[in-house]
Point group: C2
DNA sequence: ATGAAAGCGCTAACAC
DNA sequence: GTGTTAGCGCTTTCAT
């Protein structure tokens, strides 16, 4: 009886429904969605597994994903995991909550856990992660395009001697765009010096800039694979080597985080749209929920050039 | 039988337990925590209601809270709300998921919803929000101490003519610390000019710096109520007025976000520890869950001075 | 349109 | 230590 009042399209008179609502109001009654889910055998809980949540790009990505999930009637549980081990554990936990799906934007989970998600048939979508295991849908930037774009931006702005800064630890998206850049350079008859940074962070950029400073006479165009790296590099290069950017060195970053616009940097960069990414990911998941047996899809995201003041005006 | 295998301290032989586990492994069985919660009438779901998740300080705060919840065996649902209306809606939603409690770090919810949470007896903890309604536990910075500290830092560094930048829209924590600063100035025989910024953001800082630039001859010490404001102010003041910081103007920020350390800023600031804040909040909530009838508590957080390069060395 | 009963996956309580 | 049963809050089905 009460149940029908809260079920759309159930057979109940408006009169009764109104009565139920009034009584509910008085008693502070709420439908228990968890119990409902038990019966209907579906859940509108989803999981978001993320690392480095306090990093500008990731924060934006997660915010957008959470909003979109909520907008679509799903409730995201937030799992923040830094290490691969943690990722595994938390994913495993999510299984026990009967999540309708999960979105992963952190370390890539191991193949076993992906297999498990296949068996339990909970949809997984990976953002900017690579894995050979089939099953999960994926949202990825077009790393080839990204590499080409970085090359084009620097060359068209007049740079001739190229270099790239990338984190040491391999990652589909970040070292991937570096590789694509290098490859594109050599295909076009340029060589690119590569600098390895410890991670993707500002600090790593600041640190590796020590090495870049030493090589300044052989470089006039630098692709930094994340904006944070770029900003760290800029700060160090200006402070310790008094480098004039863009006249002494041109820099292109990647991500287009909020800070790239800041007056001290005005970084020319390549934007990956966090909102588009997040929405694509939840769309894929919802689509998979409706249609569990379809083949895995990849949403390939196009990346766009943003010219600010760390590159020279192209003629 | 199966149930006992997964219940700590249940009467079951190790042998049986092992058998159950093995069978579970083979079948891919998982305990359904939602169903368990239905029976035990308790849930380890909690809600985190946050706005401006893509802002450095908030991102860190939410990350820490989520991690701490997970560590303690709770599962946070993330609700991102920008407007007060959204906050209400999402809180209301959370009630239907039988959350064990909720942590709010966004616009302050209206009193009705607080009353409702009291009635449903779901613990609420507010971070840096004020409300006259009793019920919720609170974690707050000590705004009096904050105001005094900002004053002391500037005065001890040799500033004589003080000013403060604050967002127009009143907020317990942010305009509160501004008010405390102004009050503390006047108690000590100083006057403080106040500049109103549109919001707490970098852009607002950048914008209001237009007005500050005009008043530069009457100011040598500036308290910016958030680091983002401070950074925006610095960028504009350097670019358009060529101000020498700290020799021409000393600046103290608030929060100690990651970017405050960056080479271009090296902002002297007042740190509120996001991790401490988050942990205090979840502690309060868990304590309230165990002891639902205790009186509301306030955790008053002490704030600490960080001297970098936007203030002069005190003698 | 309404009432009654069964059952979702689980635990608690009571027998043995 | 183990088997059985009732019931958490809900929806669904089958009567009425």
């Amino acid at each position: 009886m009460v149940s029908r009042a809260y079920t759309d399209g159930a057979k109940i008179s408006n009169e009764s429904r109104k009565k139920v609502y009034e009584a509910a109001e008085k008693l502070g009654y709420r439908v228990n969605y968890l119990a409902r889910g038990l019966q209907t055998r579906q859940s509108n809980l989803v999981g978001i597994v993320a690392s480095a949540l306090d990093t500008p790009f990731r924060a934006r990505q997660v915010k957008m994903a959470a909003r979109e999930f909520i907008r679509q009637g799903y409730r995201p549980m937030l799992m923040v995991a830094e290490t691969p081990d943690e990722v595994e554990q938390l994913i495993s936990l999510l299984f026990s909550y009967n999540v309708a799906g999960m979105l992963i934007t952190s370390a890539t989970p191991s193949s076993e856990i992906i297999v498990e998600s296949n068996n339990l048939s909970v949809p997984v979508v990976l953002i900017n992660r690579e894995t050979e295991i089939v099953g999960p849908d994926k949202v990825q930037i077009d790393i080839q395009q990204a590499g080409k774009l970085a090359f084009d931006m620097l060359i068209r702005s007049g740079a001739k001697n190229l270099a790239v800064v990338r984190p040491v630890s391999p990652s589909f998206s970040v070292t991937g765009r570096s590789d694509a850049f290098v490859q594109h350079c050599s295909e076009n008859g340029y060589s690119a010096q590569v600098f390895n940074a410890a991670s993707q962070s500002y600090d790593s950029g600041f640190e590796v800039a020590g090495k870049i400073g030493l090589a300044l006479d052989r470089i006039d165009g630098l692709f930094c694979t994340t904006d944070l790296l770029a900003i760290g590099v800029m700060d160090r290069l200006r402070a310790d080597w008094n480098v004039d950017i863009p006249n002494g060195l041109q820099i292109v970053g990647f991500d287009d985080i909020e800070q790239a616009k800041w007056g001290s940097y005005q970084l020319s960069t390549i934007r990956q749209d966090a909102k588009e990414q997040a929405c694509a990911a939840v769309d894929l998941m919802l689509d998979r929920i409706e249609n569990p047996d379809r083949d895995p899809k990849i949403y390939l995201q196009t990346v766009v050039p943003i010219f600010r003041n760390t590159t020279q005006k192209s003629q």
